[in-house]
């Protein structure tokens, strides 16, 4: 820029006590291209803004150096001031003389000298700055929510209530997720279905929500504001418009009670055509083509009994898979979690005895819609257990399995103590083998105290082995509180397994271009400050796909993600920061080094035909690019430039910093 104004801030006495502000103003006035130099007590104040705007108007400055605090504080402020005053906001350069000078040093003389160098180097850069324009992209005001657990349900409802169209894609036949499998929920002991079902109904009936169950995202293209998503809709072989959910087909099916029921964790059997659970939304039958006789062999007795049973004539063997194409502006990912399969920890005997179960299986046993209609019975014999032992941290907080805490195990086990007593009576013996009790949530510690007051045996330690001989189960546990070794004889063991990323989360993350943290859960952009954002702009995460959490935190995060998404969808257009990386196609030879390392997947190779020959060069999507500079540093041929931080601009600064007398910088 040719007409530069320099504005030095006193920051009250924050800067001026350690930096001789006036001497800087006097010195920079003499530099090439500087046509204005002023100081003021608070440059960021309204009065300061007036000073800058007046210089733009009267002196016609086209570039500004503000010597003040960190650009993290006020760079946006001063860019805004410049823009208001009619100057290009991107020809503003900040020299940080507070954090880097006055606050950091105790010699006024040397601190002033350093501030002088910094301001002069900023002037050198300002001479070479270029005016930049923000790009604009129109926003499609639709949202996609992936996963219909409580997180996805909450996010969908919030967005739909804000007036946006929402596509909720759930891979299972019904929404509800894990919460639908639970009986009662800690710490309030609300019945899980009683609080979940109304929300599921609301989703189903909401005019703004397109519910796509039994569907999966196939591919995603585009960027924030304008994503194009392909969704595969698996055939249910049932015409959902006709099906009334009466269940007659389920009862009629020849495969009735012969296929392990996934919803009941394999503790009961279902038919080949089934309704996922009594409160399923949509309450529609679905035919499992892998177990349906007609699908497998083209023949089912003298004819499929489901067809015969269905008065609504809803069965349709000809249904085909469909691919829906959606266009959305923002995406919330809420794909939930899995539990560690305890079979991988042989010592706990999960695969050696039917009476060693998991907490989720126990939820199903306790549930009145579960395999035993809510009667807790030993899976091996159907008898009432007299003693139940719960082993916590199965795979959790264990360097060989999952180093992290599952955050819900302790509370789940404590909750189940109460539910077991309700179910089996006060006389049942309950042992809890724990590592630490982590009861950190609101009302959790109180909940724990209540359970502790009851007649429950707490052993602190991890059992070495669960020994199993037929119905006889024994556990050795060294209690580290009493320093004693105990042998527990028990009828039933309930394992509290670690919460792990979904088995397909790696594949899913790759498809969505999302990153994962070391534990395999989806990675947030910043654990504390951007917990719902991802590194892909416009894609947010909520619930257990980001890491283990209880329902309270899941719902809070889902609402947070929805409001982050709404922030985008409510805009007509998005403005893109122009301080991004740009490829010089004339210099790029298409080596593709930059492509794999872009954390935002913003770079793509494009093929062009030049003089009859195909040439490849990289192209950066200006909407996706966050200006991190990774590609700029990596480009071996120097074909990528970082706007606002071009080599010549930075070299000019280095030139001045190396030699203060040569304030002209490198040529």
């Amino acid at each position: 820029m040719e007409r530069i104004g320099v504005f030095v801030c006193h920051c009250g006495i924050n800067i001026s006590s350690m930096v001789d502000v006036e001497s800087i103003v006097e010195r920079v006035r003499e530099l090439d291209g500087v046509v204005e130099a002023k100081s003021y007590k608070y440059m960021c104040s309204d009065r300061g803004a007036q000073i800058i705007k007046k210089s733009i108007e009267e002196k016609g400055i086209d570039g500004a150096v503000i010597a003040c605090c960190s650009p993290r504080m006020h760079e946006p402020t001063f860019r805004g001031v410049a823009e208001d005053g009619g100057m290009n906001p991107f020809t503003v350069e900040i020299a940080n003389i507070r954090e880097q000078c006055s606050w950091a040093h105790d010699s006024r003389e040397r601190s002033t000298e350093k501030a002088m160098k910094l301001v002069m180097s900023s002037v050198a850069k300002a001479r070479l700055l270029e005016p930049l324009e923000r790009g604009r992209t129109p926003v499609i005001p639709n949202a996609l929510v992936i996963g219909g657990g409580i997180a996805g349900i909450q996010a969908s409802l919030d967005l739909a209530n804000e007036g946006f169209r929402v596509y909720l894609v759930e891979k299972d036949p019904s929404i509800g997720g894990r919460m639908a499998q639970l009986d009662k929920t800690f710490p309030t002991l609300d019945c899980s279905s009683c609080i979940l079902t109304p929300k599921m109904m609301e989703v189903y009936h909401h005019p703004n929500i397109d519910l796509m169950t039994y569907s999966e995202v196939l591919s995603i293209e585009g960027s924030i504001g304008d994503y194009r998503v392909k969704v595969r809709r698996k055939p249910r072989y049932v015409d959902v418009d006709r099906c009334t959910g009466c269940g007659d087909c389920v009862t009629a099916c020849r495969m009735r009670d012969r296929i392990p029921d996934e919803f009941n964790m394999g503790l009961s059997n279902r038919s080949a055509i089934y309704i996922q659970f009594p409160q399923a939304i949509p309450l529609k039958a679905v035919m499992d083509s892998e177990t349906c006789l007609f699908h497998r062999f083209g023949k089912c007795g003298d004819g499929p009994l489901c067809v015969e049973a269905c008065e609504a004539e809803a069965i349709d063997f000809e249904q085909k898979e469909e691919v829906a194409e959606l266009n959305v502006g923002a995406i919330v990912v809420a794909t939930g979690y899995d539990l560690l399969d305890p079979a991988s920890l042989h010592e706990y005997g999960y695969s050696r005895s039917k009476n060693v179960i998991t907490t989720l299986e126990l939820e199903r046993l306790i549930s009145s819609s579960g395999p035993t209609k809510g009667e807790v019975r030993l899976p091996s014999s159907g008898e009432r257990p007299r003693s139940v032992t719960m082993i916590m941290c199965v795979g959790s907080r264990d360097e060989t399995q999952c180093s992290w805490c599952c955050r819900i195990g302790c509370m789940t086990a404590l909750k189940q103590v109460i539910l077991l007593r309700e179910n089996l009576g006060e006389e049942v013996e309950i042992n809890i083998l724990y590592t630490d009790i982590r009861s950190f949530g609101k009302g959790y510690e109180e909940f724990y105290r209540n359970v502790r007051a009851e007649n429950t045996n707490f052993f602190r330690g991890r059992p070495s082995e669960v020994r199993i001989r037929n119905e006889d189960i024994r556990i050795d546990i060294f209690d580290t509180i009493t320093n004693k070794l105990f042998e527990i004889r028990t009828d039933m063991v309930v394992l509290v397994p670690a919460v792990v990323p979904r088995a397909d989360s790696g594949e899913f993350a790759r498809m969505m271009n999302l990153s994962r943290s070391g534990d395999g859960f989806l990675l947030e952009a910043h654990l504390k400050l951007k917990p719902m954002d991802t590194f892909v702009n416009g894609i947010f995460i909520a619930g257990c796909c980001q890491g283990p959490k209880d329902i309270t935190d899941t719902v809070a995060q889902a609402s947070g993600a929805a409001s982050r998404a709404a922030g985008i969808l409510s805009k007509k257009e998005l403005e893109n920061d122009p301080l991004i990386a740009v490829v010089d196609a004339d210099l790029c030879s298409g080596c593709r080094i930059c492509i794999s390392l872009c954390p935002y997947s913003a770079i793509e190779p494009v093929v062009e035909t030049m003089a009859g020959e195909e040439v490849v060069h990289a192209e950066i999507n200006e909407v996706l690019c966050q200006g991190c500079g990774a590609c700029v540093a990596a480009c071996p041929s120097g074909a990528i430039n970082q706007m606002g931080f071009k080599d010549n601009q930075i070299l000019a600064m280095i030139g001045v910093l190396n030699d203060c007398s040569d304030a002209g910088g490198l040529k």
Binding site: I593, I595, L597, C635, P636
Partner: protein, 327 residues
């Protein structure tokens, strides 16, 4: 130099070089005849018997174009650089050594004393009981003998005198030599300071298929099984192609050998070796980078044998960091 009716006057000179550049000139085959028809060669120590004094006797600017190959290592080469600069209208740094120091530039990892020690004293095939080292002057009974001074450091031509054009390559490819000569003959020279070669890197000319690059280890060419058509860098072989100016038709790659960088940096790159190091650091161990233990990083880096020789094979003398100062 405008197009002239008269015959042009060329000169060729060699500084610290291997002689390959001279061969490259001859390599233009029968087209040398066209050159001879268009130009007289006034000075060419390898082929024409002209004395330095003959050059000194010429008027300043008398030579139209001087093609100077080789780096500047001795006082003689430095003097000739200045002399030929004065006598030539246009001075071309010909070949990687003149353009950026070349392989002789790697001597900047040591200094004169170290080099003399290795070459004249500690060399297993040298017997030098009197521990005689080259010196500028030696008295013998017939009088005083002089040798040019051996500088402490190797420099590229432009670090010694003003250069008009650069024609990198070890040696420069024939097509680029012809392009340069034709440009002179037709008087269609690019702006001063230009490198006479395409702007894009070697990858542009390389025929191998390129896809994304995430290296899990560094390997040397003999450690890989030949996979036709697959980018060598992707196979873990350090190939300087992406950091090197093309124009060579990727000849080395055609022979399934990685680019070693003789074309020098691309137009927007300040330091070829630095750029390549930065690129390699960006893609090496990229997958699961956050979780890489230090030992693994060490192991990956240990795969790079002779880093300076690899990344600065031709460019050390003219690099940002261009010599070892101690030890």
């Amino acid at each position: 130099m405008p197009v002239t009716e008269r015959k042009l006057k060329f000169a060729f000179y060699w500084g610290a070089s291997c002689g390959g550049c001279e061969i490259a000139v001859l390599d233009i085959d029968e087209k040398i005849l066209d050159v001879a028809a268009a130009a007289d060669i006034l000075f060419w120590p390898v082929a024409v018997d002209t004395k330095y004094s003959d050059v000194e006797a010429m008027e300043d600017g008398f030579i139209d174009v001087c093609f100077f190959n080789g780096a500047i290592r001795t006082s003689e080469q430095e003097e000739l650089a200045h002399l030929l600069r004065r006598k030539s209208g246009c001075l071309v740094a010909f070949g990687s050594c003149a353009a950026m120091g070349g392989i002789p530039g790697l001597a900047n990892l040591a200094n004169r004393d170290k080099i003399f020690e290795t070459a004249y004293l500690d060399n297993p095939s040298t017997s030098n009981p009197g521990r005689t080292l080259p010196s500028k002057e030696s008295r013998v009974k017939e009088g005083t003998l002089t040798l040019p001074e051996f500088h402490d450091r190797v420099r590229a031509l432009h670090q010694v005198t003003d250069v008009d054009y650069f024609l990198p390559g070890c040696p420069p490819p024939t097509n680029l030599i012809l392009e340069a000569v034709n440009a002179v003959i037709k008087g269609e020279l690019p702006p001063k300071g230009s490198v006479i070669a395409p702007e894009k890197s070697v990858c542009e000319e390389c025929r191998f298929e390129k896809s994304e690059k995430m290296l899990t280890e560094i390997r040397r060419i003999y450690e890989v099984e030949k996979v036709e058509d697959r980018c060598l860098l992707e196979q873990g072989i350090i190939c300087l192609g992406p950091a090197t100016r093309g124009g060579c038709s990727a000849r080395c790659l055609d022979a399934y050998m990685p680019c070693t960088g003789c074309g020098g940096p691309t137009p927007n790159s300040m330091d070829q070796g630095g750029k390549m190091i930065s690129a390699l650091a960006s893609i090496l161990g990229l997958e699961g980078e956050e979780a890489l233990p230090d030992e693994e990083i060490e192991r990956l880096l240990d795969g790079i044998v002779d880093p300076v020789g690899t990344f600065y094979k031709y460019g050390l003398a003219a690099a940002l960091i261009n010599r070892r100062l101690e030890g």
